[in-house]
Symmetry: C2
DNA sequence: GCTATGCAGTAACAAAAGTTACACTGTTAA
DNA sequence: TTAACAGTGTAACTTTTGTTACTGCATAGC
Protein backbone atom coordinates (compact mmCIF):
# COMPACT_ATOMS: atom_id res chain seq x y z
CA UNK A 1 0.00 0.00 0.00
CA UNK A 2 2.85 2.38 0.84
CA UNK A 3 3.96 2.20 -2.77
CA UNK A 4 0.55 3.31 -4.04
CA UNK A 5 0.34 5.96 -1.37
CA UNK A 6 3.65 7.48 -2.36
CA UNK A 7 2.76 7.44 -6.02
CA UNK A 8 -0.54 9.23 -5.56
CA UNK A 9 -0.09 11.31 -2.44
CA UNK A 10 3.69 11.59 -2.14
CA UNK A 11 3.71 15.11 -3.54
CA UNK A 12 1.08 16.20 -1.02
CA UNK A 13 1.98 14.57 2.29
CA UNK A 14 5.24 14.40 4.19
CA UNK A 15 6.81 11.02 4.85
CA UNK A 16 5.68 10.85 8.44
CA UNK A 17 2.06 11.29 7.46
CA UNK A 18 2.37 8.79 4.63
CA UNK A 19 3.58 6.23 7.16
CA UNK A 20 0.75 7.04 9.52
CA UNK A 21 -1.75 6.55 6.74
CA UNK A 22 -0.04 3.30 5.85
CA UNK A 23 -0.37 2.14 9.45
CA UNK A 24 -4.05 2.86 10.07
CA UNK A 25 -5.51 2.82 6.56
CA UNK A 26 -6.84 -0.23 4.78
CA UNK A 27 -6.62 -0.73 1.06
CA UNK A 28 -9.90 -1.63 -0.60
CA UNK A 29 -10.52 -2.72 -4.16
CA UNK A 30 -14.07 -2.26 -5.35
CA UNK A 31 -15.52 -3.50 -8.61
CA UNK A 32 -17.39 -1.19 -10.94
CA UNK A 33 -21.04 -0.49 -10.18
CA UNK A 34 -20.90 -1.11 -6.42
CA UNK A 35 -22.74 1.19 -4.04
CA UNK A 36 -20.16 2.16 -1.44
CA UNK A 37 -22.22 4.76 0.42
CA UNK A 38 -25.93 5.52 0.55
CA UNK A 39 -28.11 8.35 1.73
CA UNK A 40 -28.83 8.17 5.44
CA UNK A 41 -25.92 5.85 6.13
CA UNK A 42 -23.48 6.68 8.93
CA UNK A 43 -19.90 7.35 7.97
CA UNK A 44 -17.09 5.63 9.82
CA UNK A 45 -14.16 6.10 7.52
CA UNK A 46 -12.83 8.43 4.92
CA UNK A 47 -11.74 7.32 1.46
CA UNK A 48 -8.59 8.38 -0.40
CA UNK A 49 -8.87 7.46 -4.07
CA UNK A 50 -5.90 5.65 -5.59
CA UNK A 51 -7.37 4.72 -8.96
CA UNK A 52 -10.71 4.35 -10.69
CA UNK A 53 -13.66 6.70 -10.27
CA UNK A 54 -16.74 7.15 -8.13
CA UNK A 55 -19.95 8.88 -9.09
CA UNK A 56 -21.78 10.92 -6.49
CA UNK A 57 -25.57 11.08 -6.71
CA UNK A 58 -28.30 13.03 -4.98
CA UNK A 59 -31.83 11.73 -4.51
CA UNK A 60 -35.07 13.48 -3.58
CA UNK A 61 -38.05 12.20 -1.60
CA UNK A 62 -39.63 10.59 -4.66
CA UNK A 63 -36.53 8.56 -5.38
CA UNK A 64 -35.56 10.78 -8.31
CA UNK A 65 -31.81 10.82 -8.87
CA UNK A 66 -29.31 13.34 -10.11
CA UNK A 67 -25.61 12.90 -10.85
CA UNK A 68 -23.60 15.51 -8.96
CA UNK A 69 -20.01 14.82 -10.00
CA UNK A 70 -17.25 12.25 -10.24
CA UNK A 71 -14.41 11.62 -7.82
CA UNK A 72 -11.10 10.54 -9.31
CA UNK A 73 -7.55 9.60 -8.36
CA UNK A 74 -6.21 11.93 -5.68
CA UNK A 75 -9.67 13.02 -4.62
CA UNK A 76 -11.44 12.42 -1.39
CA UNK A 77 -15.10 12.82 -0.60
CA UNK A 78 -15.65 16.23 0.96
CA UNK A 79 -19.18 15.18 1.83
CA UNK A 80 -17.69 12.44 3.92
CA UNK A 81 -15.27 14.84 5.58
CA UNK A 82 -18.14 17.13 6.23
CA UNK A 83 -20.32 14.48 7.73
CA UNK A 84 -17.53 12.95 9.80
CA UNK A 85 -17.11 16.13 11.72
CA UNK A 86 -20.78 16.58 12.40
CA UNK A 87 -21.08 12.86 13.08
CA UNK A 88 -23.94 13.05 10.64
CA UNK A 89 -25.50 10.79 8.05
CA UNK A 90 -24.55 10.86 4.41
CA UNK A 91 -26.56 13.19 2.19
CA UNK A 92 -25.40 11.50 -0.99
CA UNK A 93 -25.03 8.15 -2.69
CA UNK A 94 -21.67 6.97 -4.00
CA UNK A 95 -21.31 4.28 -6.67
CA UNK A 96 -18.08 3.12 -8.29
CA UNK A 97 -18.03 4.13 -11.93
CA UNK A 98 -14.95 2.02 -12.64
CA UNK A 99 -13.02 -0.64 -10.78
CA UNK A 100 -11.62 1.44 -7.97
CA UNK A 101 -8.83 1.27 -5.43
CA UNK A 102 -9.12 3.32 -2.28
CA UNK A 103 -7.57 3.64 1.14
CA UNK A 104 -10.01 3.88 4.00
CA UNK A 105 -8.98 5.95 7.00
CA UNK A 106 -10.77 5.77 10.36
CA UNK A 107 -12.43 9.10 11.05
CA UNK A 108 -10.79 9.37 14.47
CA UNK A 109 -7.53 10.21 12.74
CA UNK A 110 -9.09 13.15 10.93
CA UNK A 111 -8.97 15.59 13.82
CA UNK A 112 -5.60 14.42 15.06
CA UNK A 113 -3.96 14.91 11.67
CA UNK A 114 -5.66 18.21 11.10
CA UNK A 115 -3.94 19.55 14.19
CA UNK A 116 -0.64 17.83 13.50
CA UNK A 117 0.04 18.13 9.77
CA UNK A 118 -0.17 21.28 7.75
CA UNK A 119 -0.16 19.21 4.55
CA UNK A 120 -3.21 17.32 5.75
CA UNK A 121 -5.03 20.56 6.55
CA UNK A 122 -4.24 21.87 3.09
CA UNK A 123 -5.44 18.65 1.54
CA UNK A 124 -8.71 18.82 3.42
CA UNK A 125 -9.25 22.48 2.53
CA UNK A 126 -8.40 21.79 -1.09
CA UNK A 127 -10.91 18.97 -1.13
CA UNK A 128 -13.61 21.24 0.19
CA UNK A 129 -12.65 23.85 -2.37
CA UNK A 130 -12.78 21.38 -5.24
CA UNK A 131 -16.11 20.04 -4.15
CA UNK A 132 -17.67 23.49 -3.79
CA UNK A 133 -16.45 24.31 -7.29
CA UNK A 134 -17.89 21.06 -8.65
CA UNK A 135 -21.20 21.85 -6.99
CA UNK A 136 -21.19 25.27 -8.64
CA UNK A 137 -20.59 23.62 -11.99
CA UNK A 138 -23.47 21.26 -11.32
CA UNK A 139 -25.71 24.18 -10.43
CA UNK A 140 -24.66 25.99 -13.59
CA UNK A 141 -25.64 22.97 -15.63
CA UNK A 142 -29.09 22.46 -14.25
CA UNK A 143 -29.90 26.15 -13.81
CA UNK A 144 -28.59 27.63 -17.03
CA UNK A 145 -28.35 24.84 -19.57
CA UNK A 146 -31.02 23.14 -21.66
CA UNK A 147 -31.28 19.39 -21.69
CA UNK A 148 -29.41 18.99 -24.99
CA UNK A 149 -26.39 20.87 -23.63
CA UNK A 150 -26.57 19.00 -20.35
CA UNK A 151 -26.57 15.72 -22.23
CA UNK A 152 -23.52 16.79 -24.23
CA UNK A 153 -21.73 17.77 -21.03
CA UNK A 154 -22.72 14.44 -19.52
CA UNK A 155 -21.21 12.53 -22.42
CA UNK A 156 -18.03 14.62 -22.28
CA UNK A 157 -17.63 14.17 -18.53
CA UNK A 158 -18.19 10.47 -18.90
CA UNK A 159 -15.47 9.91 -21.50
CA UNK A 160 -13.14 12.12 -19.48
CA UNK A 161 -13.56 9.80 -16.53
CA UNK A 162 -13.51 6.47 -18.33
CA UNK A 163 -10.86 7.43 -20.93
CA UNK A 164 -12.79 5.44 -23.51
CA UNK A 165 -14.74 6.46 -26.59
CA UNK A 166 -17.57 4.12 -25.80
CA UNK A 167 -20.18 4.81 -23.14
CA UNK A 168 -21.69 1.61 -21.83
CA UNK A 169 -25.03 2.84 -20.60
CA UNK A 170 -28.63 2.44 -21.60
CA UNK A 171 -30.71 5.50 -22.35
CA UNK A 172 -32.69 4.77 -19.21
CA UNK A 173 -29.57 4.93 -17.05
CA UNK A 174 -28.54 8.24 -18.57
CA UNK A 175 -32.06 9.56 -18.00
CA UNK A 176 -31.85 8.70 -14.30
CA UNK A 177 -28.54 10.52 -13.85
CA UNK A 178 -29.77 13.64 -15.66
CA UNK A 179 -33.14 13.40 -13.94
CA UNK A 180 -35.22 13.29 -17.09
CA UNK A 181 -37.08 10.57 -18.99
CA UNK A 182 -35.79 7.83 -21.26
CA UNK A 183 -37.80 9.15 -24.23
CA UNK A 184 -36.19 12.57 -23.93
CA UNK A 185 -32.70 11.07 -23.82
CA UNK A 186 -33.41 8.85 -26.84
CA UNK A 187 -34.73 11.86 -28.74
CA UNK A 188 -31.71 14.05 -28.02
CA UNK A 189 -29.20 11.25 -28.60
CA UNK A 190 -30.80 10.63 -31.98
CA UNK A 191 -30.26 14.23 -33.04
CA UNK A 192 -26.63 13.98 -31.91
CA UNK A 193 -26.31 10.89 -34.07
CA UNK A 194 -27.82 12.74 -37.03
CA UNK A 195 -25.21 15.46 -36.48
CA UNK A 196 -22.53 12.78 -36.77
CA UNK A 197 -21.29 13.30 -33.23
CA UNK A 198 -22.10 9.86 -31.90
CA UNK A 199 -23.15 6.40 -33.03
CA UNK A 200 -25.98 4.66 -31.23
CA UNK A 201 -25.91 0.95 -30.48
CA UNK A 202 -27.75 -1.35 -28.17
CA UNK A 203 -26.38 -0.83 -24.64
CA UNK A 204 -23.59 1.49 -25.68
CA UNK A 205 -22.82 4.76 -27.43
CA UNK A 206 -19.77 5.27 -29.61
CA UNK A 207 -18.37 8.80 -29.44
CA UNK A 208 -17.21 10.21 -32.79
CA UNK A 209 -16.51 13.87 -31.90
CA UNK A 210 -18.11 16.04 -29.25
CA UNK B 1 -16.27 45.46 18.58
CA UNK B 2 -15.18 43.04 21.30
CA UNK B 3 -18.64 43.25 22.78
CA UNK B 4 -20.26 42.21 19.50
CA UNK B 5 -17.68 39.51 18.98
CA UNK B 6 -18.37 37.97 22.36
CA UNK B 7 -22.10 38.06 21.84
CA UNK B 8 -21.99 36.33 18.48
CA UNK B 9 -18.88 34.19 18.59
CA UNK B 10 -18.21 33.86 22.32
CA UNK B 11 -19.65 30.36 22.45
CA UNK B 12 -17.41 29.28 19.57
CA UNK B 13 -14.02 30.84 20.16
CA UNK B 14 -11.77 30.94 23.23
CA UNK B 15 -10.93 34.30 24.76
CA UNK B 16 -7.47 34.44 23.29
CA UNK B 17 -8.81 34.05 19.77
CA UNK B 18 -11.55 36.59 20.39
CA UNK B 19 -8.90 39.08 21.36
CA UNK B 20 -6.82 38.31 18.31
CA UNK B 21 -9.84 38.87 16.10
CA UNK B 22 -10.51 42.09 17.93
CA UNK B 23 -6.94 43.20 17.27
CA UNK B 24 -6.69 42.53 13.54
CA UNK B 25 -10.33 42.65 12.42
CA UNK B 26 -12.18 45.74 11.30
CA UNK B 27 -15.85 46.30 11.90
CA UNK B 28 -17.81 47.27 8.81
CA UNK B 29 -21.39 48.43 8.54
CA UNK B 30 -22.93 48.04 5.14
CA UNK B 31 -26.32 49.35 4.04
CA UNK B 32 -28.87 47.10 2.37
CA UNK B 33 -28.47 46.45 -1.34
CA UNK B 34 -24.71 47.00 -1.56
CA UNK B 35 -22.58 44.69 -3.66
CA UNK B 36 -19.74 43.65 -1.37
CA UNK B 37 -18.13 41.05 -3.63
CA UNK B 38 -18.40 40.33 -7.33
CA UNK B 39 -17.46 37.51 -9.66
CA UNK B 40 -13.85 37.67 -10.77
CA UNK B 41 -12.84 39.90 -7.88
CA UNK B 42 -9.82 39.01 -5.74
CA UNK B 43 -10.44 38.29 -2.10
CA UNK B 44 -8.29 39.95 0.54
CA UNK B 45 -10.28 39.48 3.68
CA UNK B 46 -12.78 37.19 5.23
CA UNK B 47 -16.10 38.31 6.68
CA UNK B 48 -17.66 37.24 9.98
CA UNK B 49 -21.32 38.22 10.08
CA UNK B 50 -22.51 40.01 13.21
CA UNK B 51 -25.97 41.03 12.08
CA UNK B 52 -28.02 41.46 8.94
CA UNK B 53 -27.94 39.14 5.93
CA UNK B 54 -26.12 38.71 2.65
CA UNK B 55 -27.43 37.03 -0.46
CA UNK B 56 -25.06 34.97 -2.56
CA UNK B 57 -25.66 34.86 -6.31
CA UNK B 58 -24.25 32.93 -9.22
CA UNK B 59 -24.10 34.26 -12.77
CA UNK B 60 -23.52 32.54 -16.09
CA UNK B 61 -21.83 33.83 -19.25
CA UNK B 62 -24.99 35.49 -20.52
CA UNK B 63 -25.40 37.51 -17.34
CA UNK B 64 -28.25 35.31 -16.10
CA UNK B 65 -28.42 35.23 -12.32
CA UNK B 66 -29.44 32.69 -9.73
CA UNK B 67 -29.81 33.12 -5.97
CA UNK B 68 -27.76 30.44 -4.20
CA UNK B 69 -28.43 31.13 -0.51
CA UNK B 70 -28.36 33.66 2.30
CA UNK B 71 -25.66 34.20 4.90
CA UNK B 72 -26.80 35.25 8.36
CA UNK B 73 -25.48 36.13 11.79
CA UNK B 74 -22.72 33.74 12.82
CA UNK B 75 -22.04 32.67 9.26
CA UNK B 76 -18.99 33.24 7.20
CA UNK B 77 -18.59 32.86 3.48
CA UNK B 78 -17.11 29.45 2.73
CA UNK B 79 -16.60 30.55 -0.85
CA UNK B 80 -14.32 33.23 0.46
CA UNK B 81 -12.46 30.78 2.66
CA UNK B 82 -12.14 28.52 -0.29
CA UNK B 83 -10.83 31.19 -2.60
CA UNK B 84 -8.45 32.65 0.00
CA UNK B 85 -6.54 29.43 0.17
CA UNK B 86 -6.27 29.01 -3.54
CA UNK B 87 -5.55 32.73 -3.88
CA UNK B 88 -8.27 32.62 -6.47
CA UNK B 89 -10.98 34.94 -7.71
CA UNK B 90 -14.49 34.94 -6.41
CA UNK B 91 -16.92 32.66 -8.19
CA UNK B 92 -19.95 34.37 -6.73
CA UNK B 93 -21.54 37.75 -6.14
CA UNK B 94 -22.50 38.89 -2.66
CA UNK B 95 -25.08 41.61 -2.00
CA UNK B 96 -26.37 42.76 1.38
CA UNK B 97 -30.00 41.80 1.78
CA UNK B 98 -30.36 43.89 4.93
CA UNK B 99 -28.28 46.49 6.70
CA UNK B 100 -25.38 44.34 7.78
CA UNK B 101 -22.56 44.44 10.33
CA UNK B 102 -19.49 42.34 9.70
CA UNK B 103 -15.94 41.95 10.89
CA UNK B 104 -13.34 41.69 8.18
CA UNK B 105 -10.29 39.57 8.88
CA UNK B 106 -7.13 39.72 6.77
CA UNK B 107 -6.67 36.41 5.01
CA UNK B 108 -3.09 36.05 6.28
CA UNK B 109 -4.49 35.20 9.70
CA UNK B 110 -6.48 32.30 8.30
CA UNK B 111 -3.65 29.83 8.10
CA UNK B 112 -2.06 30.93 11.34
CA UNK B 113 -5.26 30.48 13.31
CA UNK B 114 -6.06 27.20 11.63
CA UNK B 115 -2.83 25.82 13.00
CA UNK B 116 -3.15 27.49 16.39
CA UNK B 117 -6.79 27.23 17.44
CA UNK B 118 -8.88 24.12 17.40
CA UNK B 119 -12.02 26.20 17.76
CA UNK B 120 -11.11 28.13 14.62
CA UNK B 121 -10.55 24.91 12.70
CA UNK B 122 -13.92 23.63 13.80
CA UNK B 123 -15.54 26.89 12.81
CA UNK B 124 -14.00 26.74 9.35
CA UNK B 125 -14.99 23.10 8.88
CA UNK B 126 -18.50 23.82 10.09
CA UNK B 127 -18.76 26.68 7.63
CA UNK B 128 -17.74 24.43 4.79
CA UNK B 129 -20.21 21.87 5.96
CA UNK B 130 -23.05 24.38 6.15
CA UNK B 131 -22.29 25.77 2.74
CA UNK B 132 -22.13 22.34 1.13
CA UNK B 133 -25.50 21.54 2.67
CA UNK B 134 -26.96 24.82 1.41
CA UNK B 135 -25.64 24.06 -2.04
CA UNK B 136 -27.32 20.66 -1.91
CA UNK B 137 -30.58 22.33 -0.96
CA UNK B 138 -30.18 24.72 -3.87
CA UNK B 139 -29.55 21.82 -6.22
CA UNK B 140 -32.60 20.03 -4.87
CA UNK B 141 -34.71 23.09 -5.62
CA UNK B 142 -33.65 23.64 -9.18
CA UNK B 143 -33.35 19.96 -10.08
CA UNK B 144 -36.43 18.49 -8.48
CA UNK B 145 -38.92 21.31 -7.95
CA UNK B 146 -41.24 23.06 -10.38
CA UNK B 147 -41.24 26.83 -10.61
CA UNK B 148 -44.34 27.25 -8.42
CA UNK B 149 -42.73 25.32 -5.57
CA UNK B 150 -39.46 27.16 -6.05
CA UNK B 151 -41.27 30.47 -5.84
CA UNK B 152 -42.98 29.40 -2.62
CA UNK B 153 -39.62 28.35 -1.14
CA UNK B 154 -38.17 31.68 -2.27
CA UNK B 155 -40.87 33.63 -0.46
CA UNK B 156 -40.47 31.49 2.67
CA UNK B 157 -36.68 31.88 2.71
CA UNK B 158 -37.05 35.59 2.22
CA UNK B 159 -39.35 36.18 5.19
CA UNK B 160 -37.14 33.91 7.28
CA UNK B 161 -34.22 36.19 6.62
CA UNK B 162 -35.94 39.54 6.87
CA UNK B 163 -38.29 38.61 9.74
CA UNK B 164 -41.01 40.67 8.08
CA UNK B 165 -44.29 39.71 6.45
CA UNK B 166 -43.74 42.08 3.56
CA UNK B 167 -41.37 41.36 0.69
CA UNK B 168 -40.18 44.54 -0.91
CA UNK B 169 -39.29 43.32 -4.36
CA UNK B 170 -40.63 43.75 -7.84
CA UNK B 171 -41.65 40.72 -9.87
CA UNK B 172 -38.71 41.42 -12.13
CA UNK B 173 -36.24 41.21 -9.25
CA UNK B 174 -37.71 37.92 -8.09
CA UNK B 175 -37.51 36.63 -11.65
CA UNK B 176 -33.79 37.41 -11.81
CA UNK B 177 -33.04 35.57 -8.59
CA UNK B 178 -35.02 32.50 -9.65
CA UNK B 179 -33.66 32.73 -13.17
CA UNK B 180 -36.99 32.88 -14.92
CA UNK B 181 -39.04 35.62 -16.58
CA UNK B 182 -41.12 38.40 -15.07
CA UNK B 183 -44.27 37.13 -16.75
CA UNK B 184 -43.87 33.69 -15.21
CA UNK B 185 -43.40 35.18 -11.73
CA UNK B 186 -46.44 37.46 -12.11
CA UNK B 187 -48.50 34.48 -13.27
CA UNK B 188 -47.51 32.25 -10.35
CA UNK B 189 -47.81 35.05 -7.77
CA UNK B 190 -51.32 35.73 -9.04
CA UNK B 191 -52.37 32.13 -8.41
CA UNK B 192 -50.87 32.37 -4.90
CA UNK B 193 -52.95 35.50 -4.35
CA UNK B 194 -56.05 33.70 -5.58
CA UNK B 195 -55.30 30.95 -3.04
CA UNK B 196 -55.28 33.64 -0.35
CA UNK B 197 -51.65 33.03 0.55
CA UNK B 198 -50.35 36.47 -0.37
CA UNK B 199 -51.54 39.96 -1.28
CA UNK B 200 -50.01 41.68 -4.28
CA UNK B 201 -49.17 45.37 -4.26
CA UNK B 202 -47.02 47.64 -6.31
CA UNK B 203 -43.37 47.08 -5.29
CA UNK B 204 -44.20 44.76 -2.44
CA UNK B 205 -45.89 41.51 -1.51
CA UNK B 206 -47.76 41.01 1.74
CA UNK B 207 -47.50 37.47 3.10
CA UNK B 208 -50.74 36.10 4.58
CA UNK B 209 -49.87 32.42 5.15
CA UNK B 210 -47.43 30.22 3.28
C1' DG C 1 -36.20 -23.40 -32.62
C1' DC C 2 -39.49 -20.20 -29.65
C1' DT C 3 -40.72 -16.85 -26.09
C1' DA C 4 -40.06 -13.45 -22.60
C1' DT C 5 -37.63 -9.56 -21.71
C1' DG C 6 -35.15 -5.35 -22.03
C1' DC C 7 -33.74 -1.72 -25.13
C1' DA C 8 -34.46 1.72 -28.53
C1' DG C 9 -37.32 4.51 -32.06
C1' DT C 10 -41.12 7.29 -32.81
C1' DA C 11 -45.65 9.48 -32.88
C1' DA C 12 -49.04 11.99 -30.56
C1' DC C 13 -50.21 14.46 -26.99
C1' DA C 14 -49.96 17.25 -22.39
C1' DA C 15 -47.82 20.23 -19.24
C1' DA C 16 -44.55 23.65 -17.92
C1' DA C 17 -42.00 27.41 -18.94
C1' DG C 18 -40.55 31.11 -21.83
C1' DT C 19 -41.76 34.96 -25.21
C1' DT C 20 -44.12 38.74 -27.32
C1' DA C 21 -47.28 42.08 -27.19
C1' DC C 22 -50.14 45.28 -25.30
C1' DA C 23 -53.16 47.53 -21.81
C1' DC C 24 -53.63 49.77 -17.45
C1' DT C 25 -52.12 52.31 -13.44
C1' DG C 26 -49.54 54.72 -10.20
C1' DT C 27 -45.29 57.56 -9.73
C1' DT C 28 -41.78 60.67 -11.15
C1' DA C 29 -39.75 64.32 -13.53
C1' DA C 30 -40.04 67.97 -16.67
C1' DT D 1 -50.27 69.40 -15.55
C1' DT D 2 -48.63 66.40 -18.47
C1' DA D 3 -45.51 63.21 -20.47
C1' DA D 4 -42.52 59.49 -19.56
C1' DC D 5 -41.73 55.53 -17.16
C1' DA D 6 -41.78 51.51 -14.17
C1' DG D 7 -44.52 47.87 -12.42
C1' DT D 8 -48.16 44.78 -13.12
C1' DG D 9 -52.01 41.91 -15.47
C1' DT D 10 -53.18 39.09 -19.14
C1' DA D 11 -53.76 36.92 -23.67
C1' DA D 12 -51.83 34.36 -27.31
C1' DC D 13 -48.36 31.88 -28.84
C1' DT D 14 -43.81 28.97 -29.06
C1' DT D 15 -40.50 26.05 -27.23
C1' DT D 16 -39.00 22.69 -24.24
C1' DT D 17 -39.75 18.96 -21.62
C1' DG D 18 -42.39 15.16 -19.97
C1' DT D 19 -45.87 11.29 -20.77
C1' DT D 20 -48.22 7.51 -22.90
C1' DA D 21 -48.45 4.19 -26.10
C1' DC D 22 -47.00 1.26 -29.38
C1' DT D 23 -43.48 -0.68 -32.55
C1' DG D 24 -39.53 -3.54 -33.84
C1' DC D 25 -35.39 -5.79 -32.61
C1' DA D 26 -31.75 -8.26 -30.19
C1' DT D 27 -30.63 -11.38 -26.65
C1' DA D 28 -31.05 -14.79 -23.01
C1' DG D 29 -33.23 -18.64 -21.34
C1' DC D 30 -36.14 -22.28 -22.23
Amino acid sequence: MLQELKENYGHLFENELLHEINKVGTLKEVKEGIKIMDIGQYIRSMPLLISGAIKILREDNNGDELLLYFLEKGDTCAMTLSCCLGNAKSEIRAITELDTKLIMIPIQKMEEWTAKYKSWRNFVFDSYHNRLMEMLTTIDSIAFMKMDERLLKYLRDKINVTKEDVIKNTHQEIAYELHTSRVVVSRLLKTLENQGKIELHRNHIKIISL
